[in-house]
């Protein structure tokens, strides 16, 4: 299901681009919502007319293929990259880490750069799917300026396999117009309210890690639990909640924005993007805790345009570029150089940078949580119930 825009006029392309920039991100939503690994949005490669001059001197080739998450990049940065290097960026949008892993396990992904989350990196290393990064090609990466809490998981056995892109939290977003004055503050309340006055208005992710994790937190268990007794309690809660759910989907922005859904499990940036346009939608980190995560840039083994991939990572890590990315997608950055460039109100934003006590209650997802077959089967039972 490639979405190729062949033989498009320059003017038409600029119109399309502007539509993207204005935030009418429907295409990416289409692709995100299907959960199809095959779904890909080609943002640049098919428009040779747009390449200012093939910068053959640099010799990095004419394209870099990036596999990433929805709403996670400022496309004007890709244009700047193309103008600077002659390589256009093709973007494949994915819905989950499992999908990315499945694609890489199957082989022949064709990616040059992808964006794994912290808990997947050891698996990629064990499966021999990613290469140790050649740091000489990434001069813009300055390890000293990165918060080790978020950048640390990129290093396995002393070798750097991935460099920090962004970090964030998993909480829930609530439309306060519908809360009757009392906004839920815990995961326990999230599920209780869903079964009562929010019935038919709540969404949970189509993602076992976060949805089961949220149910586990409602009982005060670890987000990463694989304990059968604790999972059984979580399953009971999820099954009891299911008739009251609006949807099980990780594409929750459209429904929250249209008012069909009032509450949803949400990631930092999605919450920020909704809150920016609709201040009545607030972001809550469940008091019991929840997930803290960090995303990385990594290079798969056998990347077809390896040099362009490295050049793209290096470009996006340049603080002046990265700050534009952060302002666009609303996810915090672990790089002190970028934070120094961010406006003060962004750094003070509680959605992006939660209070220390809320943050300390959060856990990083574990590799075993993602690959646990019992959690996968629990999710299937929940979805088919």
């Amino acid at each position: 299901m490639t979405d190729k825009i062949d033989h498009i006029s320059r003017q038409k392309f600029m119109e399309e681009l502007r539509r993207y920039q204005k935030g009418s991100v429907t295409r990416r939503h289409f692709l995100g919502v299907t959960g199809l690994g095959a779904a890909s949005a080609v943002l640049g490669a098919a428009m040779p007319g747009l390449i200012p001059r093939p910068a053959l001197a640099q010799g990095i080739g004419d394209r870099a293929i990036l596999a990433t998450w929805p709403n996670y990049h400022d496309v004007t940065n890709f244009d700047a990259f193309a103008a600077e290097t002659g390589a256009t960026v093709q973007v494949n949008v994915f819905g989950s880490n499992e999908e990315m892993l499945a694609k890489l396990q199957a082989g022949g992904s064709g990616w040059d750069v992808f964006v794994p989350t912290n808990y997947t990196i050891t698996t990629y290393v064990e499966q021999d799917l990613i290469e140790p990064l050649d740091m000489s090609l990434l001069p813009n990466y300055d390890p000293a300026s990165f918060d080790q809490r978020f950048a640390g998981p990129g290093t396995v056995d002393g070798k750097v396999y991935a460099v920090s892109k962004n970090w964030g939290t998993t909480g829930f977003a609530v439309n306060t117009n519908n809360t009757g004055g009392t906004t839920p503050a815990t995961w326990k309340e999230f599920f209780e309210r869903t079964q009562t006055d929010f019935s038919g208005r709540t969404m949970v992710h189509d993602y076992q890690l976060t949805t089961i994790g949220a149910a586990l937190k409602a009982f005060g268990y670890s987000f990463n639990s694989v304990d059968p007794a604790e999972l059984a309690k979580a399953e009971e809660l999820l099954l009891a909640t299911k008739p009251h759910l609006f949807a099980i989907s990780s594409d929750y922005q459209p429904s929250m924005r249209s008012g069909d859904a009032w509450m949803t499990i949400a990631w930092t940036g999605d919450a920020k993007q909704m809150n920016r346009d609709m201040p009545e939608i607030v972001y809550v980190l469940g008091r019991e805790g929840g997930e803290l995560w960090s995303d990385f840039y990594a290079v798969p083994k056998g990347a077809p345009h390896r040099e362009a991939g490295y050049a793209l990572i290096n470009f996006l890590l340049k603080p002046e570029v990265n700050v534009k990315e952060a302002l666009f997608h609303g996810y915090p950055v672990a790089d002190a150089r970028v934070n120094a460039l961010l406006p003060a109100e962004v750094l003070a934003d509680p959605i992006l940078y939660p209070a220390a006590d809320l943050l300390s209650a959060l856990e990083f997802g574990a590799a075993a949580t993602l690959t646990d077959p019992n959690r996968a089967e629990l999710m299937a039972r929940f979805k088919s119930a």
């Binding site: 919502v33 396990q105 299911k242 759910l245 989907s249 690959t371 299937a380 039972r381």
Partner: protein, 283 residues
């Protein structure tokens, strides 16, 4: 001899295509279905019936598919038949081609985009808002089995209309005149002449829609809000989320077996209906 060689040469591209793109992958799926899931997901070779023994874990998905697929097929038929009848029997021949093209026009846009449009039509600010404005209490349409059924009928209607239309269009109209001359009222002519002669088209349309519906995953995911779980959705999850390729392969093999049984039944029925092979080969 020369002729035989030509025949084989002409058949070769299709033969190679089917062997490489259909038979070979099916063999892989079959082999995988007796294997095991690797600890981090994927596949490790083995010979076990464990995956098949585990099939009841996807019982609901099979049940949902086997309920909504026939229901969707039936609904499509009920809506498509009168339309096809009108196009073949009543429509002004001047307009017939235009009308037929209009039936096909939706195919010019991806089903993904059209399903997305339904999310807004059935969403809170779409039809339900109009229904509420008219004074009929709050209704919920999106993310219900009803929404999935609507999407299914909408998406697959043309596939039903076309074969039925073809069988009606090719019907020898002199038979209807004869029936009328012999004193049969229109309803009787329809029931005893038109309907039986259009059955091959009906069967072909039903087969087409049913088989495609059995593998459907997009419409339930988009219009069912992930809460209406088809076999197709189970397969997507097994391969892309839990990466349990072995179990996914077993589910896929089971689905293929169900389809094979259905198609065999169809062939058998068609043969019993009087061996109208040329009609059978319509599509």
């Amino acid at each position: 001899m020369q002729r035989r060689l030509t025949t084989w040469l002409l058949l070769a591209p299709a033969g190679v295509w089917f062997a490489v793109m259909l038979v070979l992958p099916l063999c892989f799926v079959l082999v995988f279905s007796f294997g095991m899931r690797a600890p981090a997901g994927g596949y490790v070779p083995a010979f076990t019936f464990e995956q098949y023994a585990n099939l009841p874990a996807r019982g609901t998905a099979f049940l949902n598919t086997l309920t909504l697929a026939p229901l969707g097929t039936l609904l499509s038929l009920v809506i498509a038949y009168p339309l096809a009848y009108f196009l073949a029997m009543r429509a002004d021949p001047k307009w017939r081609t235009t009308l037929l093209i209009l039936v096909i026009v939706p195919f010019w846009t991806s089903i993904l985009i059209r399903s997305y449009a339904w999310i807004f039509i059935l969403g809170g600010q779409g039809l339900p808002a109009i229904i509420e404005w008219l004074g009929f209490g709050p209704v919920r349409l999106i993310n219900t089995p009803f929404a999935v059924l609507t999407g299914i009928v909408y998406g697959y209607l043309p596939l039903m209309v076309l074969p039925v239309y073809v069988s009606l269009e090719r019907l020898d109209k002199r038979l209807l005149e004869a029936s009328a001359d012999l004193g049969a009222p229109p309803l009787r002519s329809f029931l005893q002449v038109t309907l039986p002669l259009s059955l091959p088209g009906v069967a072909t349309g039903c087969m087409l829609v049913f088989i495609l519906l059995m593998g459907e995953f997009l419409i339930p995911a988009m219009l069912g809000g992930g809460k209406v779980f088809f076999i197709g959705n189970a397969l997507v999850d097994l391969f892309l989320q839990s990466r349990n390729w072995a179990f996914g392969a077993a589910v896929a093999v089971t689905l293929v077996v169900i389809m094979l049984v259905t198609v065999s039944l169809y062939m058998w029925l068609m043969r019993r209906m009087g061996g109208q092979r040329d009609d059978m080969a319509l599509m």
